[in-house]
Amino acid sequence: MIRSLFEWVDVMPMSTVWRESLNGYPLLLTAHVTSMGLVAGIIIFWDMRLAGMALTRVPVSKIQATMFPWMTLGLLINAATGAAMVFSQPMRYYPNFYFWMKNFFLLLALVNMLYFHARIGKTVADWEHNPVTPFPARMAGYASLALWAGIIVTGRMIAYSGLVPDWWIALELG
C-alpha cells in the first residue's frame, strides 16, 4: 500500500518536472540543511536546559515561550523542503533504510515532546528556576538529544543507501 502511494507520486507530472530540474534538488537540500541549524540548534539548547547541561540560569518556560516560534519556523522550512525532496524522488526514498529510520526517530521525538507536555510540562512552574531539573525532565531532555542526533545522522546516511543491514537488502524494495 505504501509502495503504491510512492509509485503514484512518482508518475505525477509535477514530481517528474521537479525530478528533472537541474538545480531543484541542490537548492532544496541546501535549504534543508541550513534550516536544520535553526531547528536542531534551538531544540538542542532547549533539551540541554532540561538535562541541566546549558542555560541553567534561564527559566524553562522562557525558553519554551520565546524560542518555540523560531523552532517552528525552522521546522516548517525543514518539513517543506524535506517533503519536496521526497515528492520529487519518491522511488529513491522508498527503498532507503535510513529514510524510514529517520521518520521513525522523528515520530519518537514527537511522542517524547507530547509526553513531556502532557505530563512533566504541567509542573514546570514548580522547578523551572532550578539549575537541576527533576529526573523525568532530565530524561526527556536526554531522550530528545539522542533522538535528534539520530534524526541528523540517519538523514545524512540517506546518501549511503548501500551501507545498510543485509536483511534490508534482502527485502528487495527497489
Binding site: G37, T56, T66, W70
Partner: protein, 159 residues
C-alpha cells in the same frame, strides 16, 4: 603563490588514503560534523536572536553570551577536527571547487567577527550599547554562518 602543491600534498597523505579506502570513517566523520553544526548553530542563534531583541530577552545579554561560550568554542573545535579529514581526503576536489573557497573565506571572516566585534558587543552592558549596534552585529553573524553552511553543502552538490 599557488596553493595547489599544498593541496596535492594533503591529498597524497597516508591519512587521506585511509579515509578513501575504508568504508565507515568518512560517514562517521561527516555525521559528527553535522551534529557539531547543530550545536554551533544553536550557540550562535541563541545569542544573535537575543541581540536582535528576540528570544531570551529576559536574560542579560552578557550572561547569555558567556553561558553558551563553551558550546560555541567546543563545537567549533569539533567542526575543525572533523573537517580536516574531509578536506584532505578530497583535496583536489576542494581546491578546484569555488564553493570551498567561498566557505573558507566566510569561515575566516566569521571567526574574526565572532572573536572581535561580536564578542565585545555581546559582553558589554546593554544600556551602553543602544538599540542599533547589537542588531547589526547579529545580522552580520547570521549572514556569515548561513553562507558558510550554504557554501559547504554546495561543495558536495555542485563540485
Amino acid at each position: 603563490m599557488s596553493m595547489l602543491p599544498f593541496f596535492e600534498w594533503m591529498g597524497g597523505l597516508r591519512f587521506s588514503a585511509f579515509f578513501l579506502e575504508s568504508v565507515w570513517p568518512t560517514p562517521i566523520v561527516q555525521n559528527i560534523h553535522l551534529i557539531a553544526i547543530a550545536v554551533f548553530a544553536g550557540s550562535v542563534l541563541v545569542v544573535d536572536l537575543r541581540m536582535l531583541g528576540r528570544g531570551l530577552t529576559e536574560t542579560p545579554l552578557a550572561q547569555l553570551a558567556r553561558s553558551v561560550e563553551p558550546w560555541l568554542y567546543g563545537s567549533f573545535v569539533v567542526l575543525v577536527l572533523t573537517g580536516i579529514p574531509q578536506m584532505t581526503s578530497t583535496a583536489l576536489k576542494q581546491y578546484y571547487s569555488p564553493f570551498f573557497w567561498w566557505k573558507m573565506q566566510a569561515v575566516l571572516i566569521g571567526v574574526i567577527w565572532t572573536l572581535t566585534v561580536r564578542r565585545r558587543i555581546s559582553m558589554r552592558t546593554e544600556a551602553e550599547l543602544g538599540p542599533v549596534w547589537p542588531k547589526m552585529v547579529a545580522v552580520v553573524s547570521i549572514a556569515l554562518w548561513t553562507s558558510v553552511t550554504v557554501g559547504a553543502r554546495l561543495i558536495g552538490l555542485m563540485g
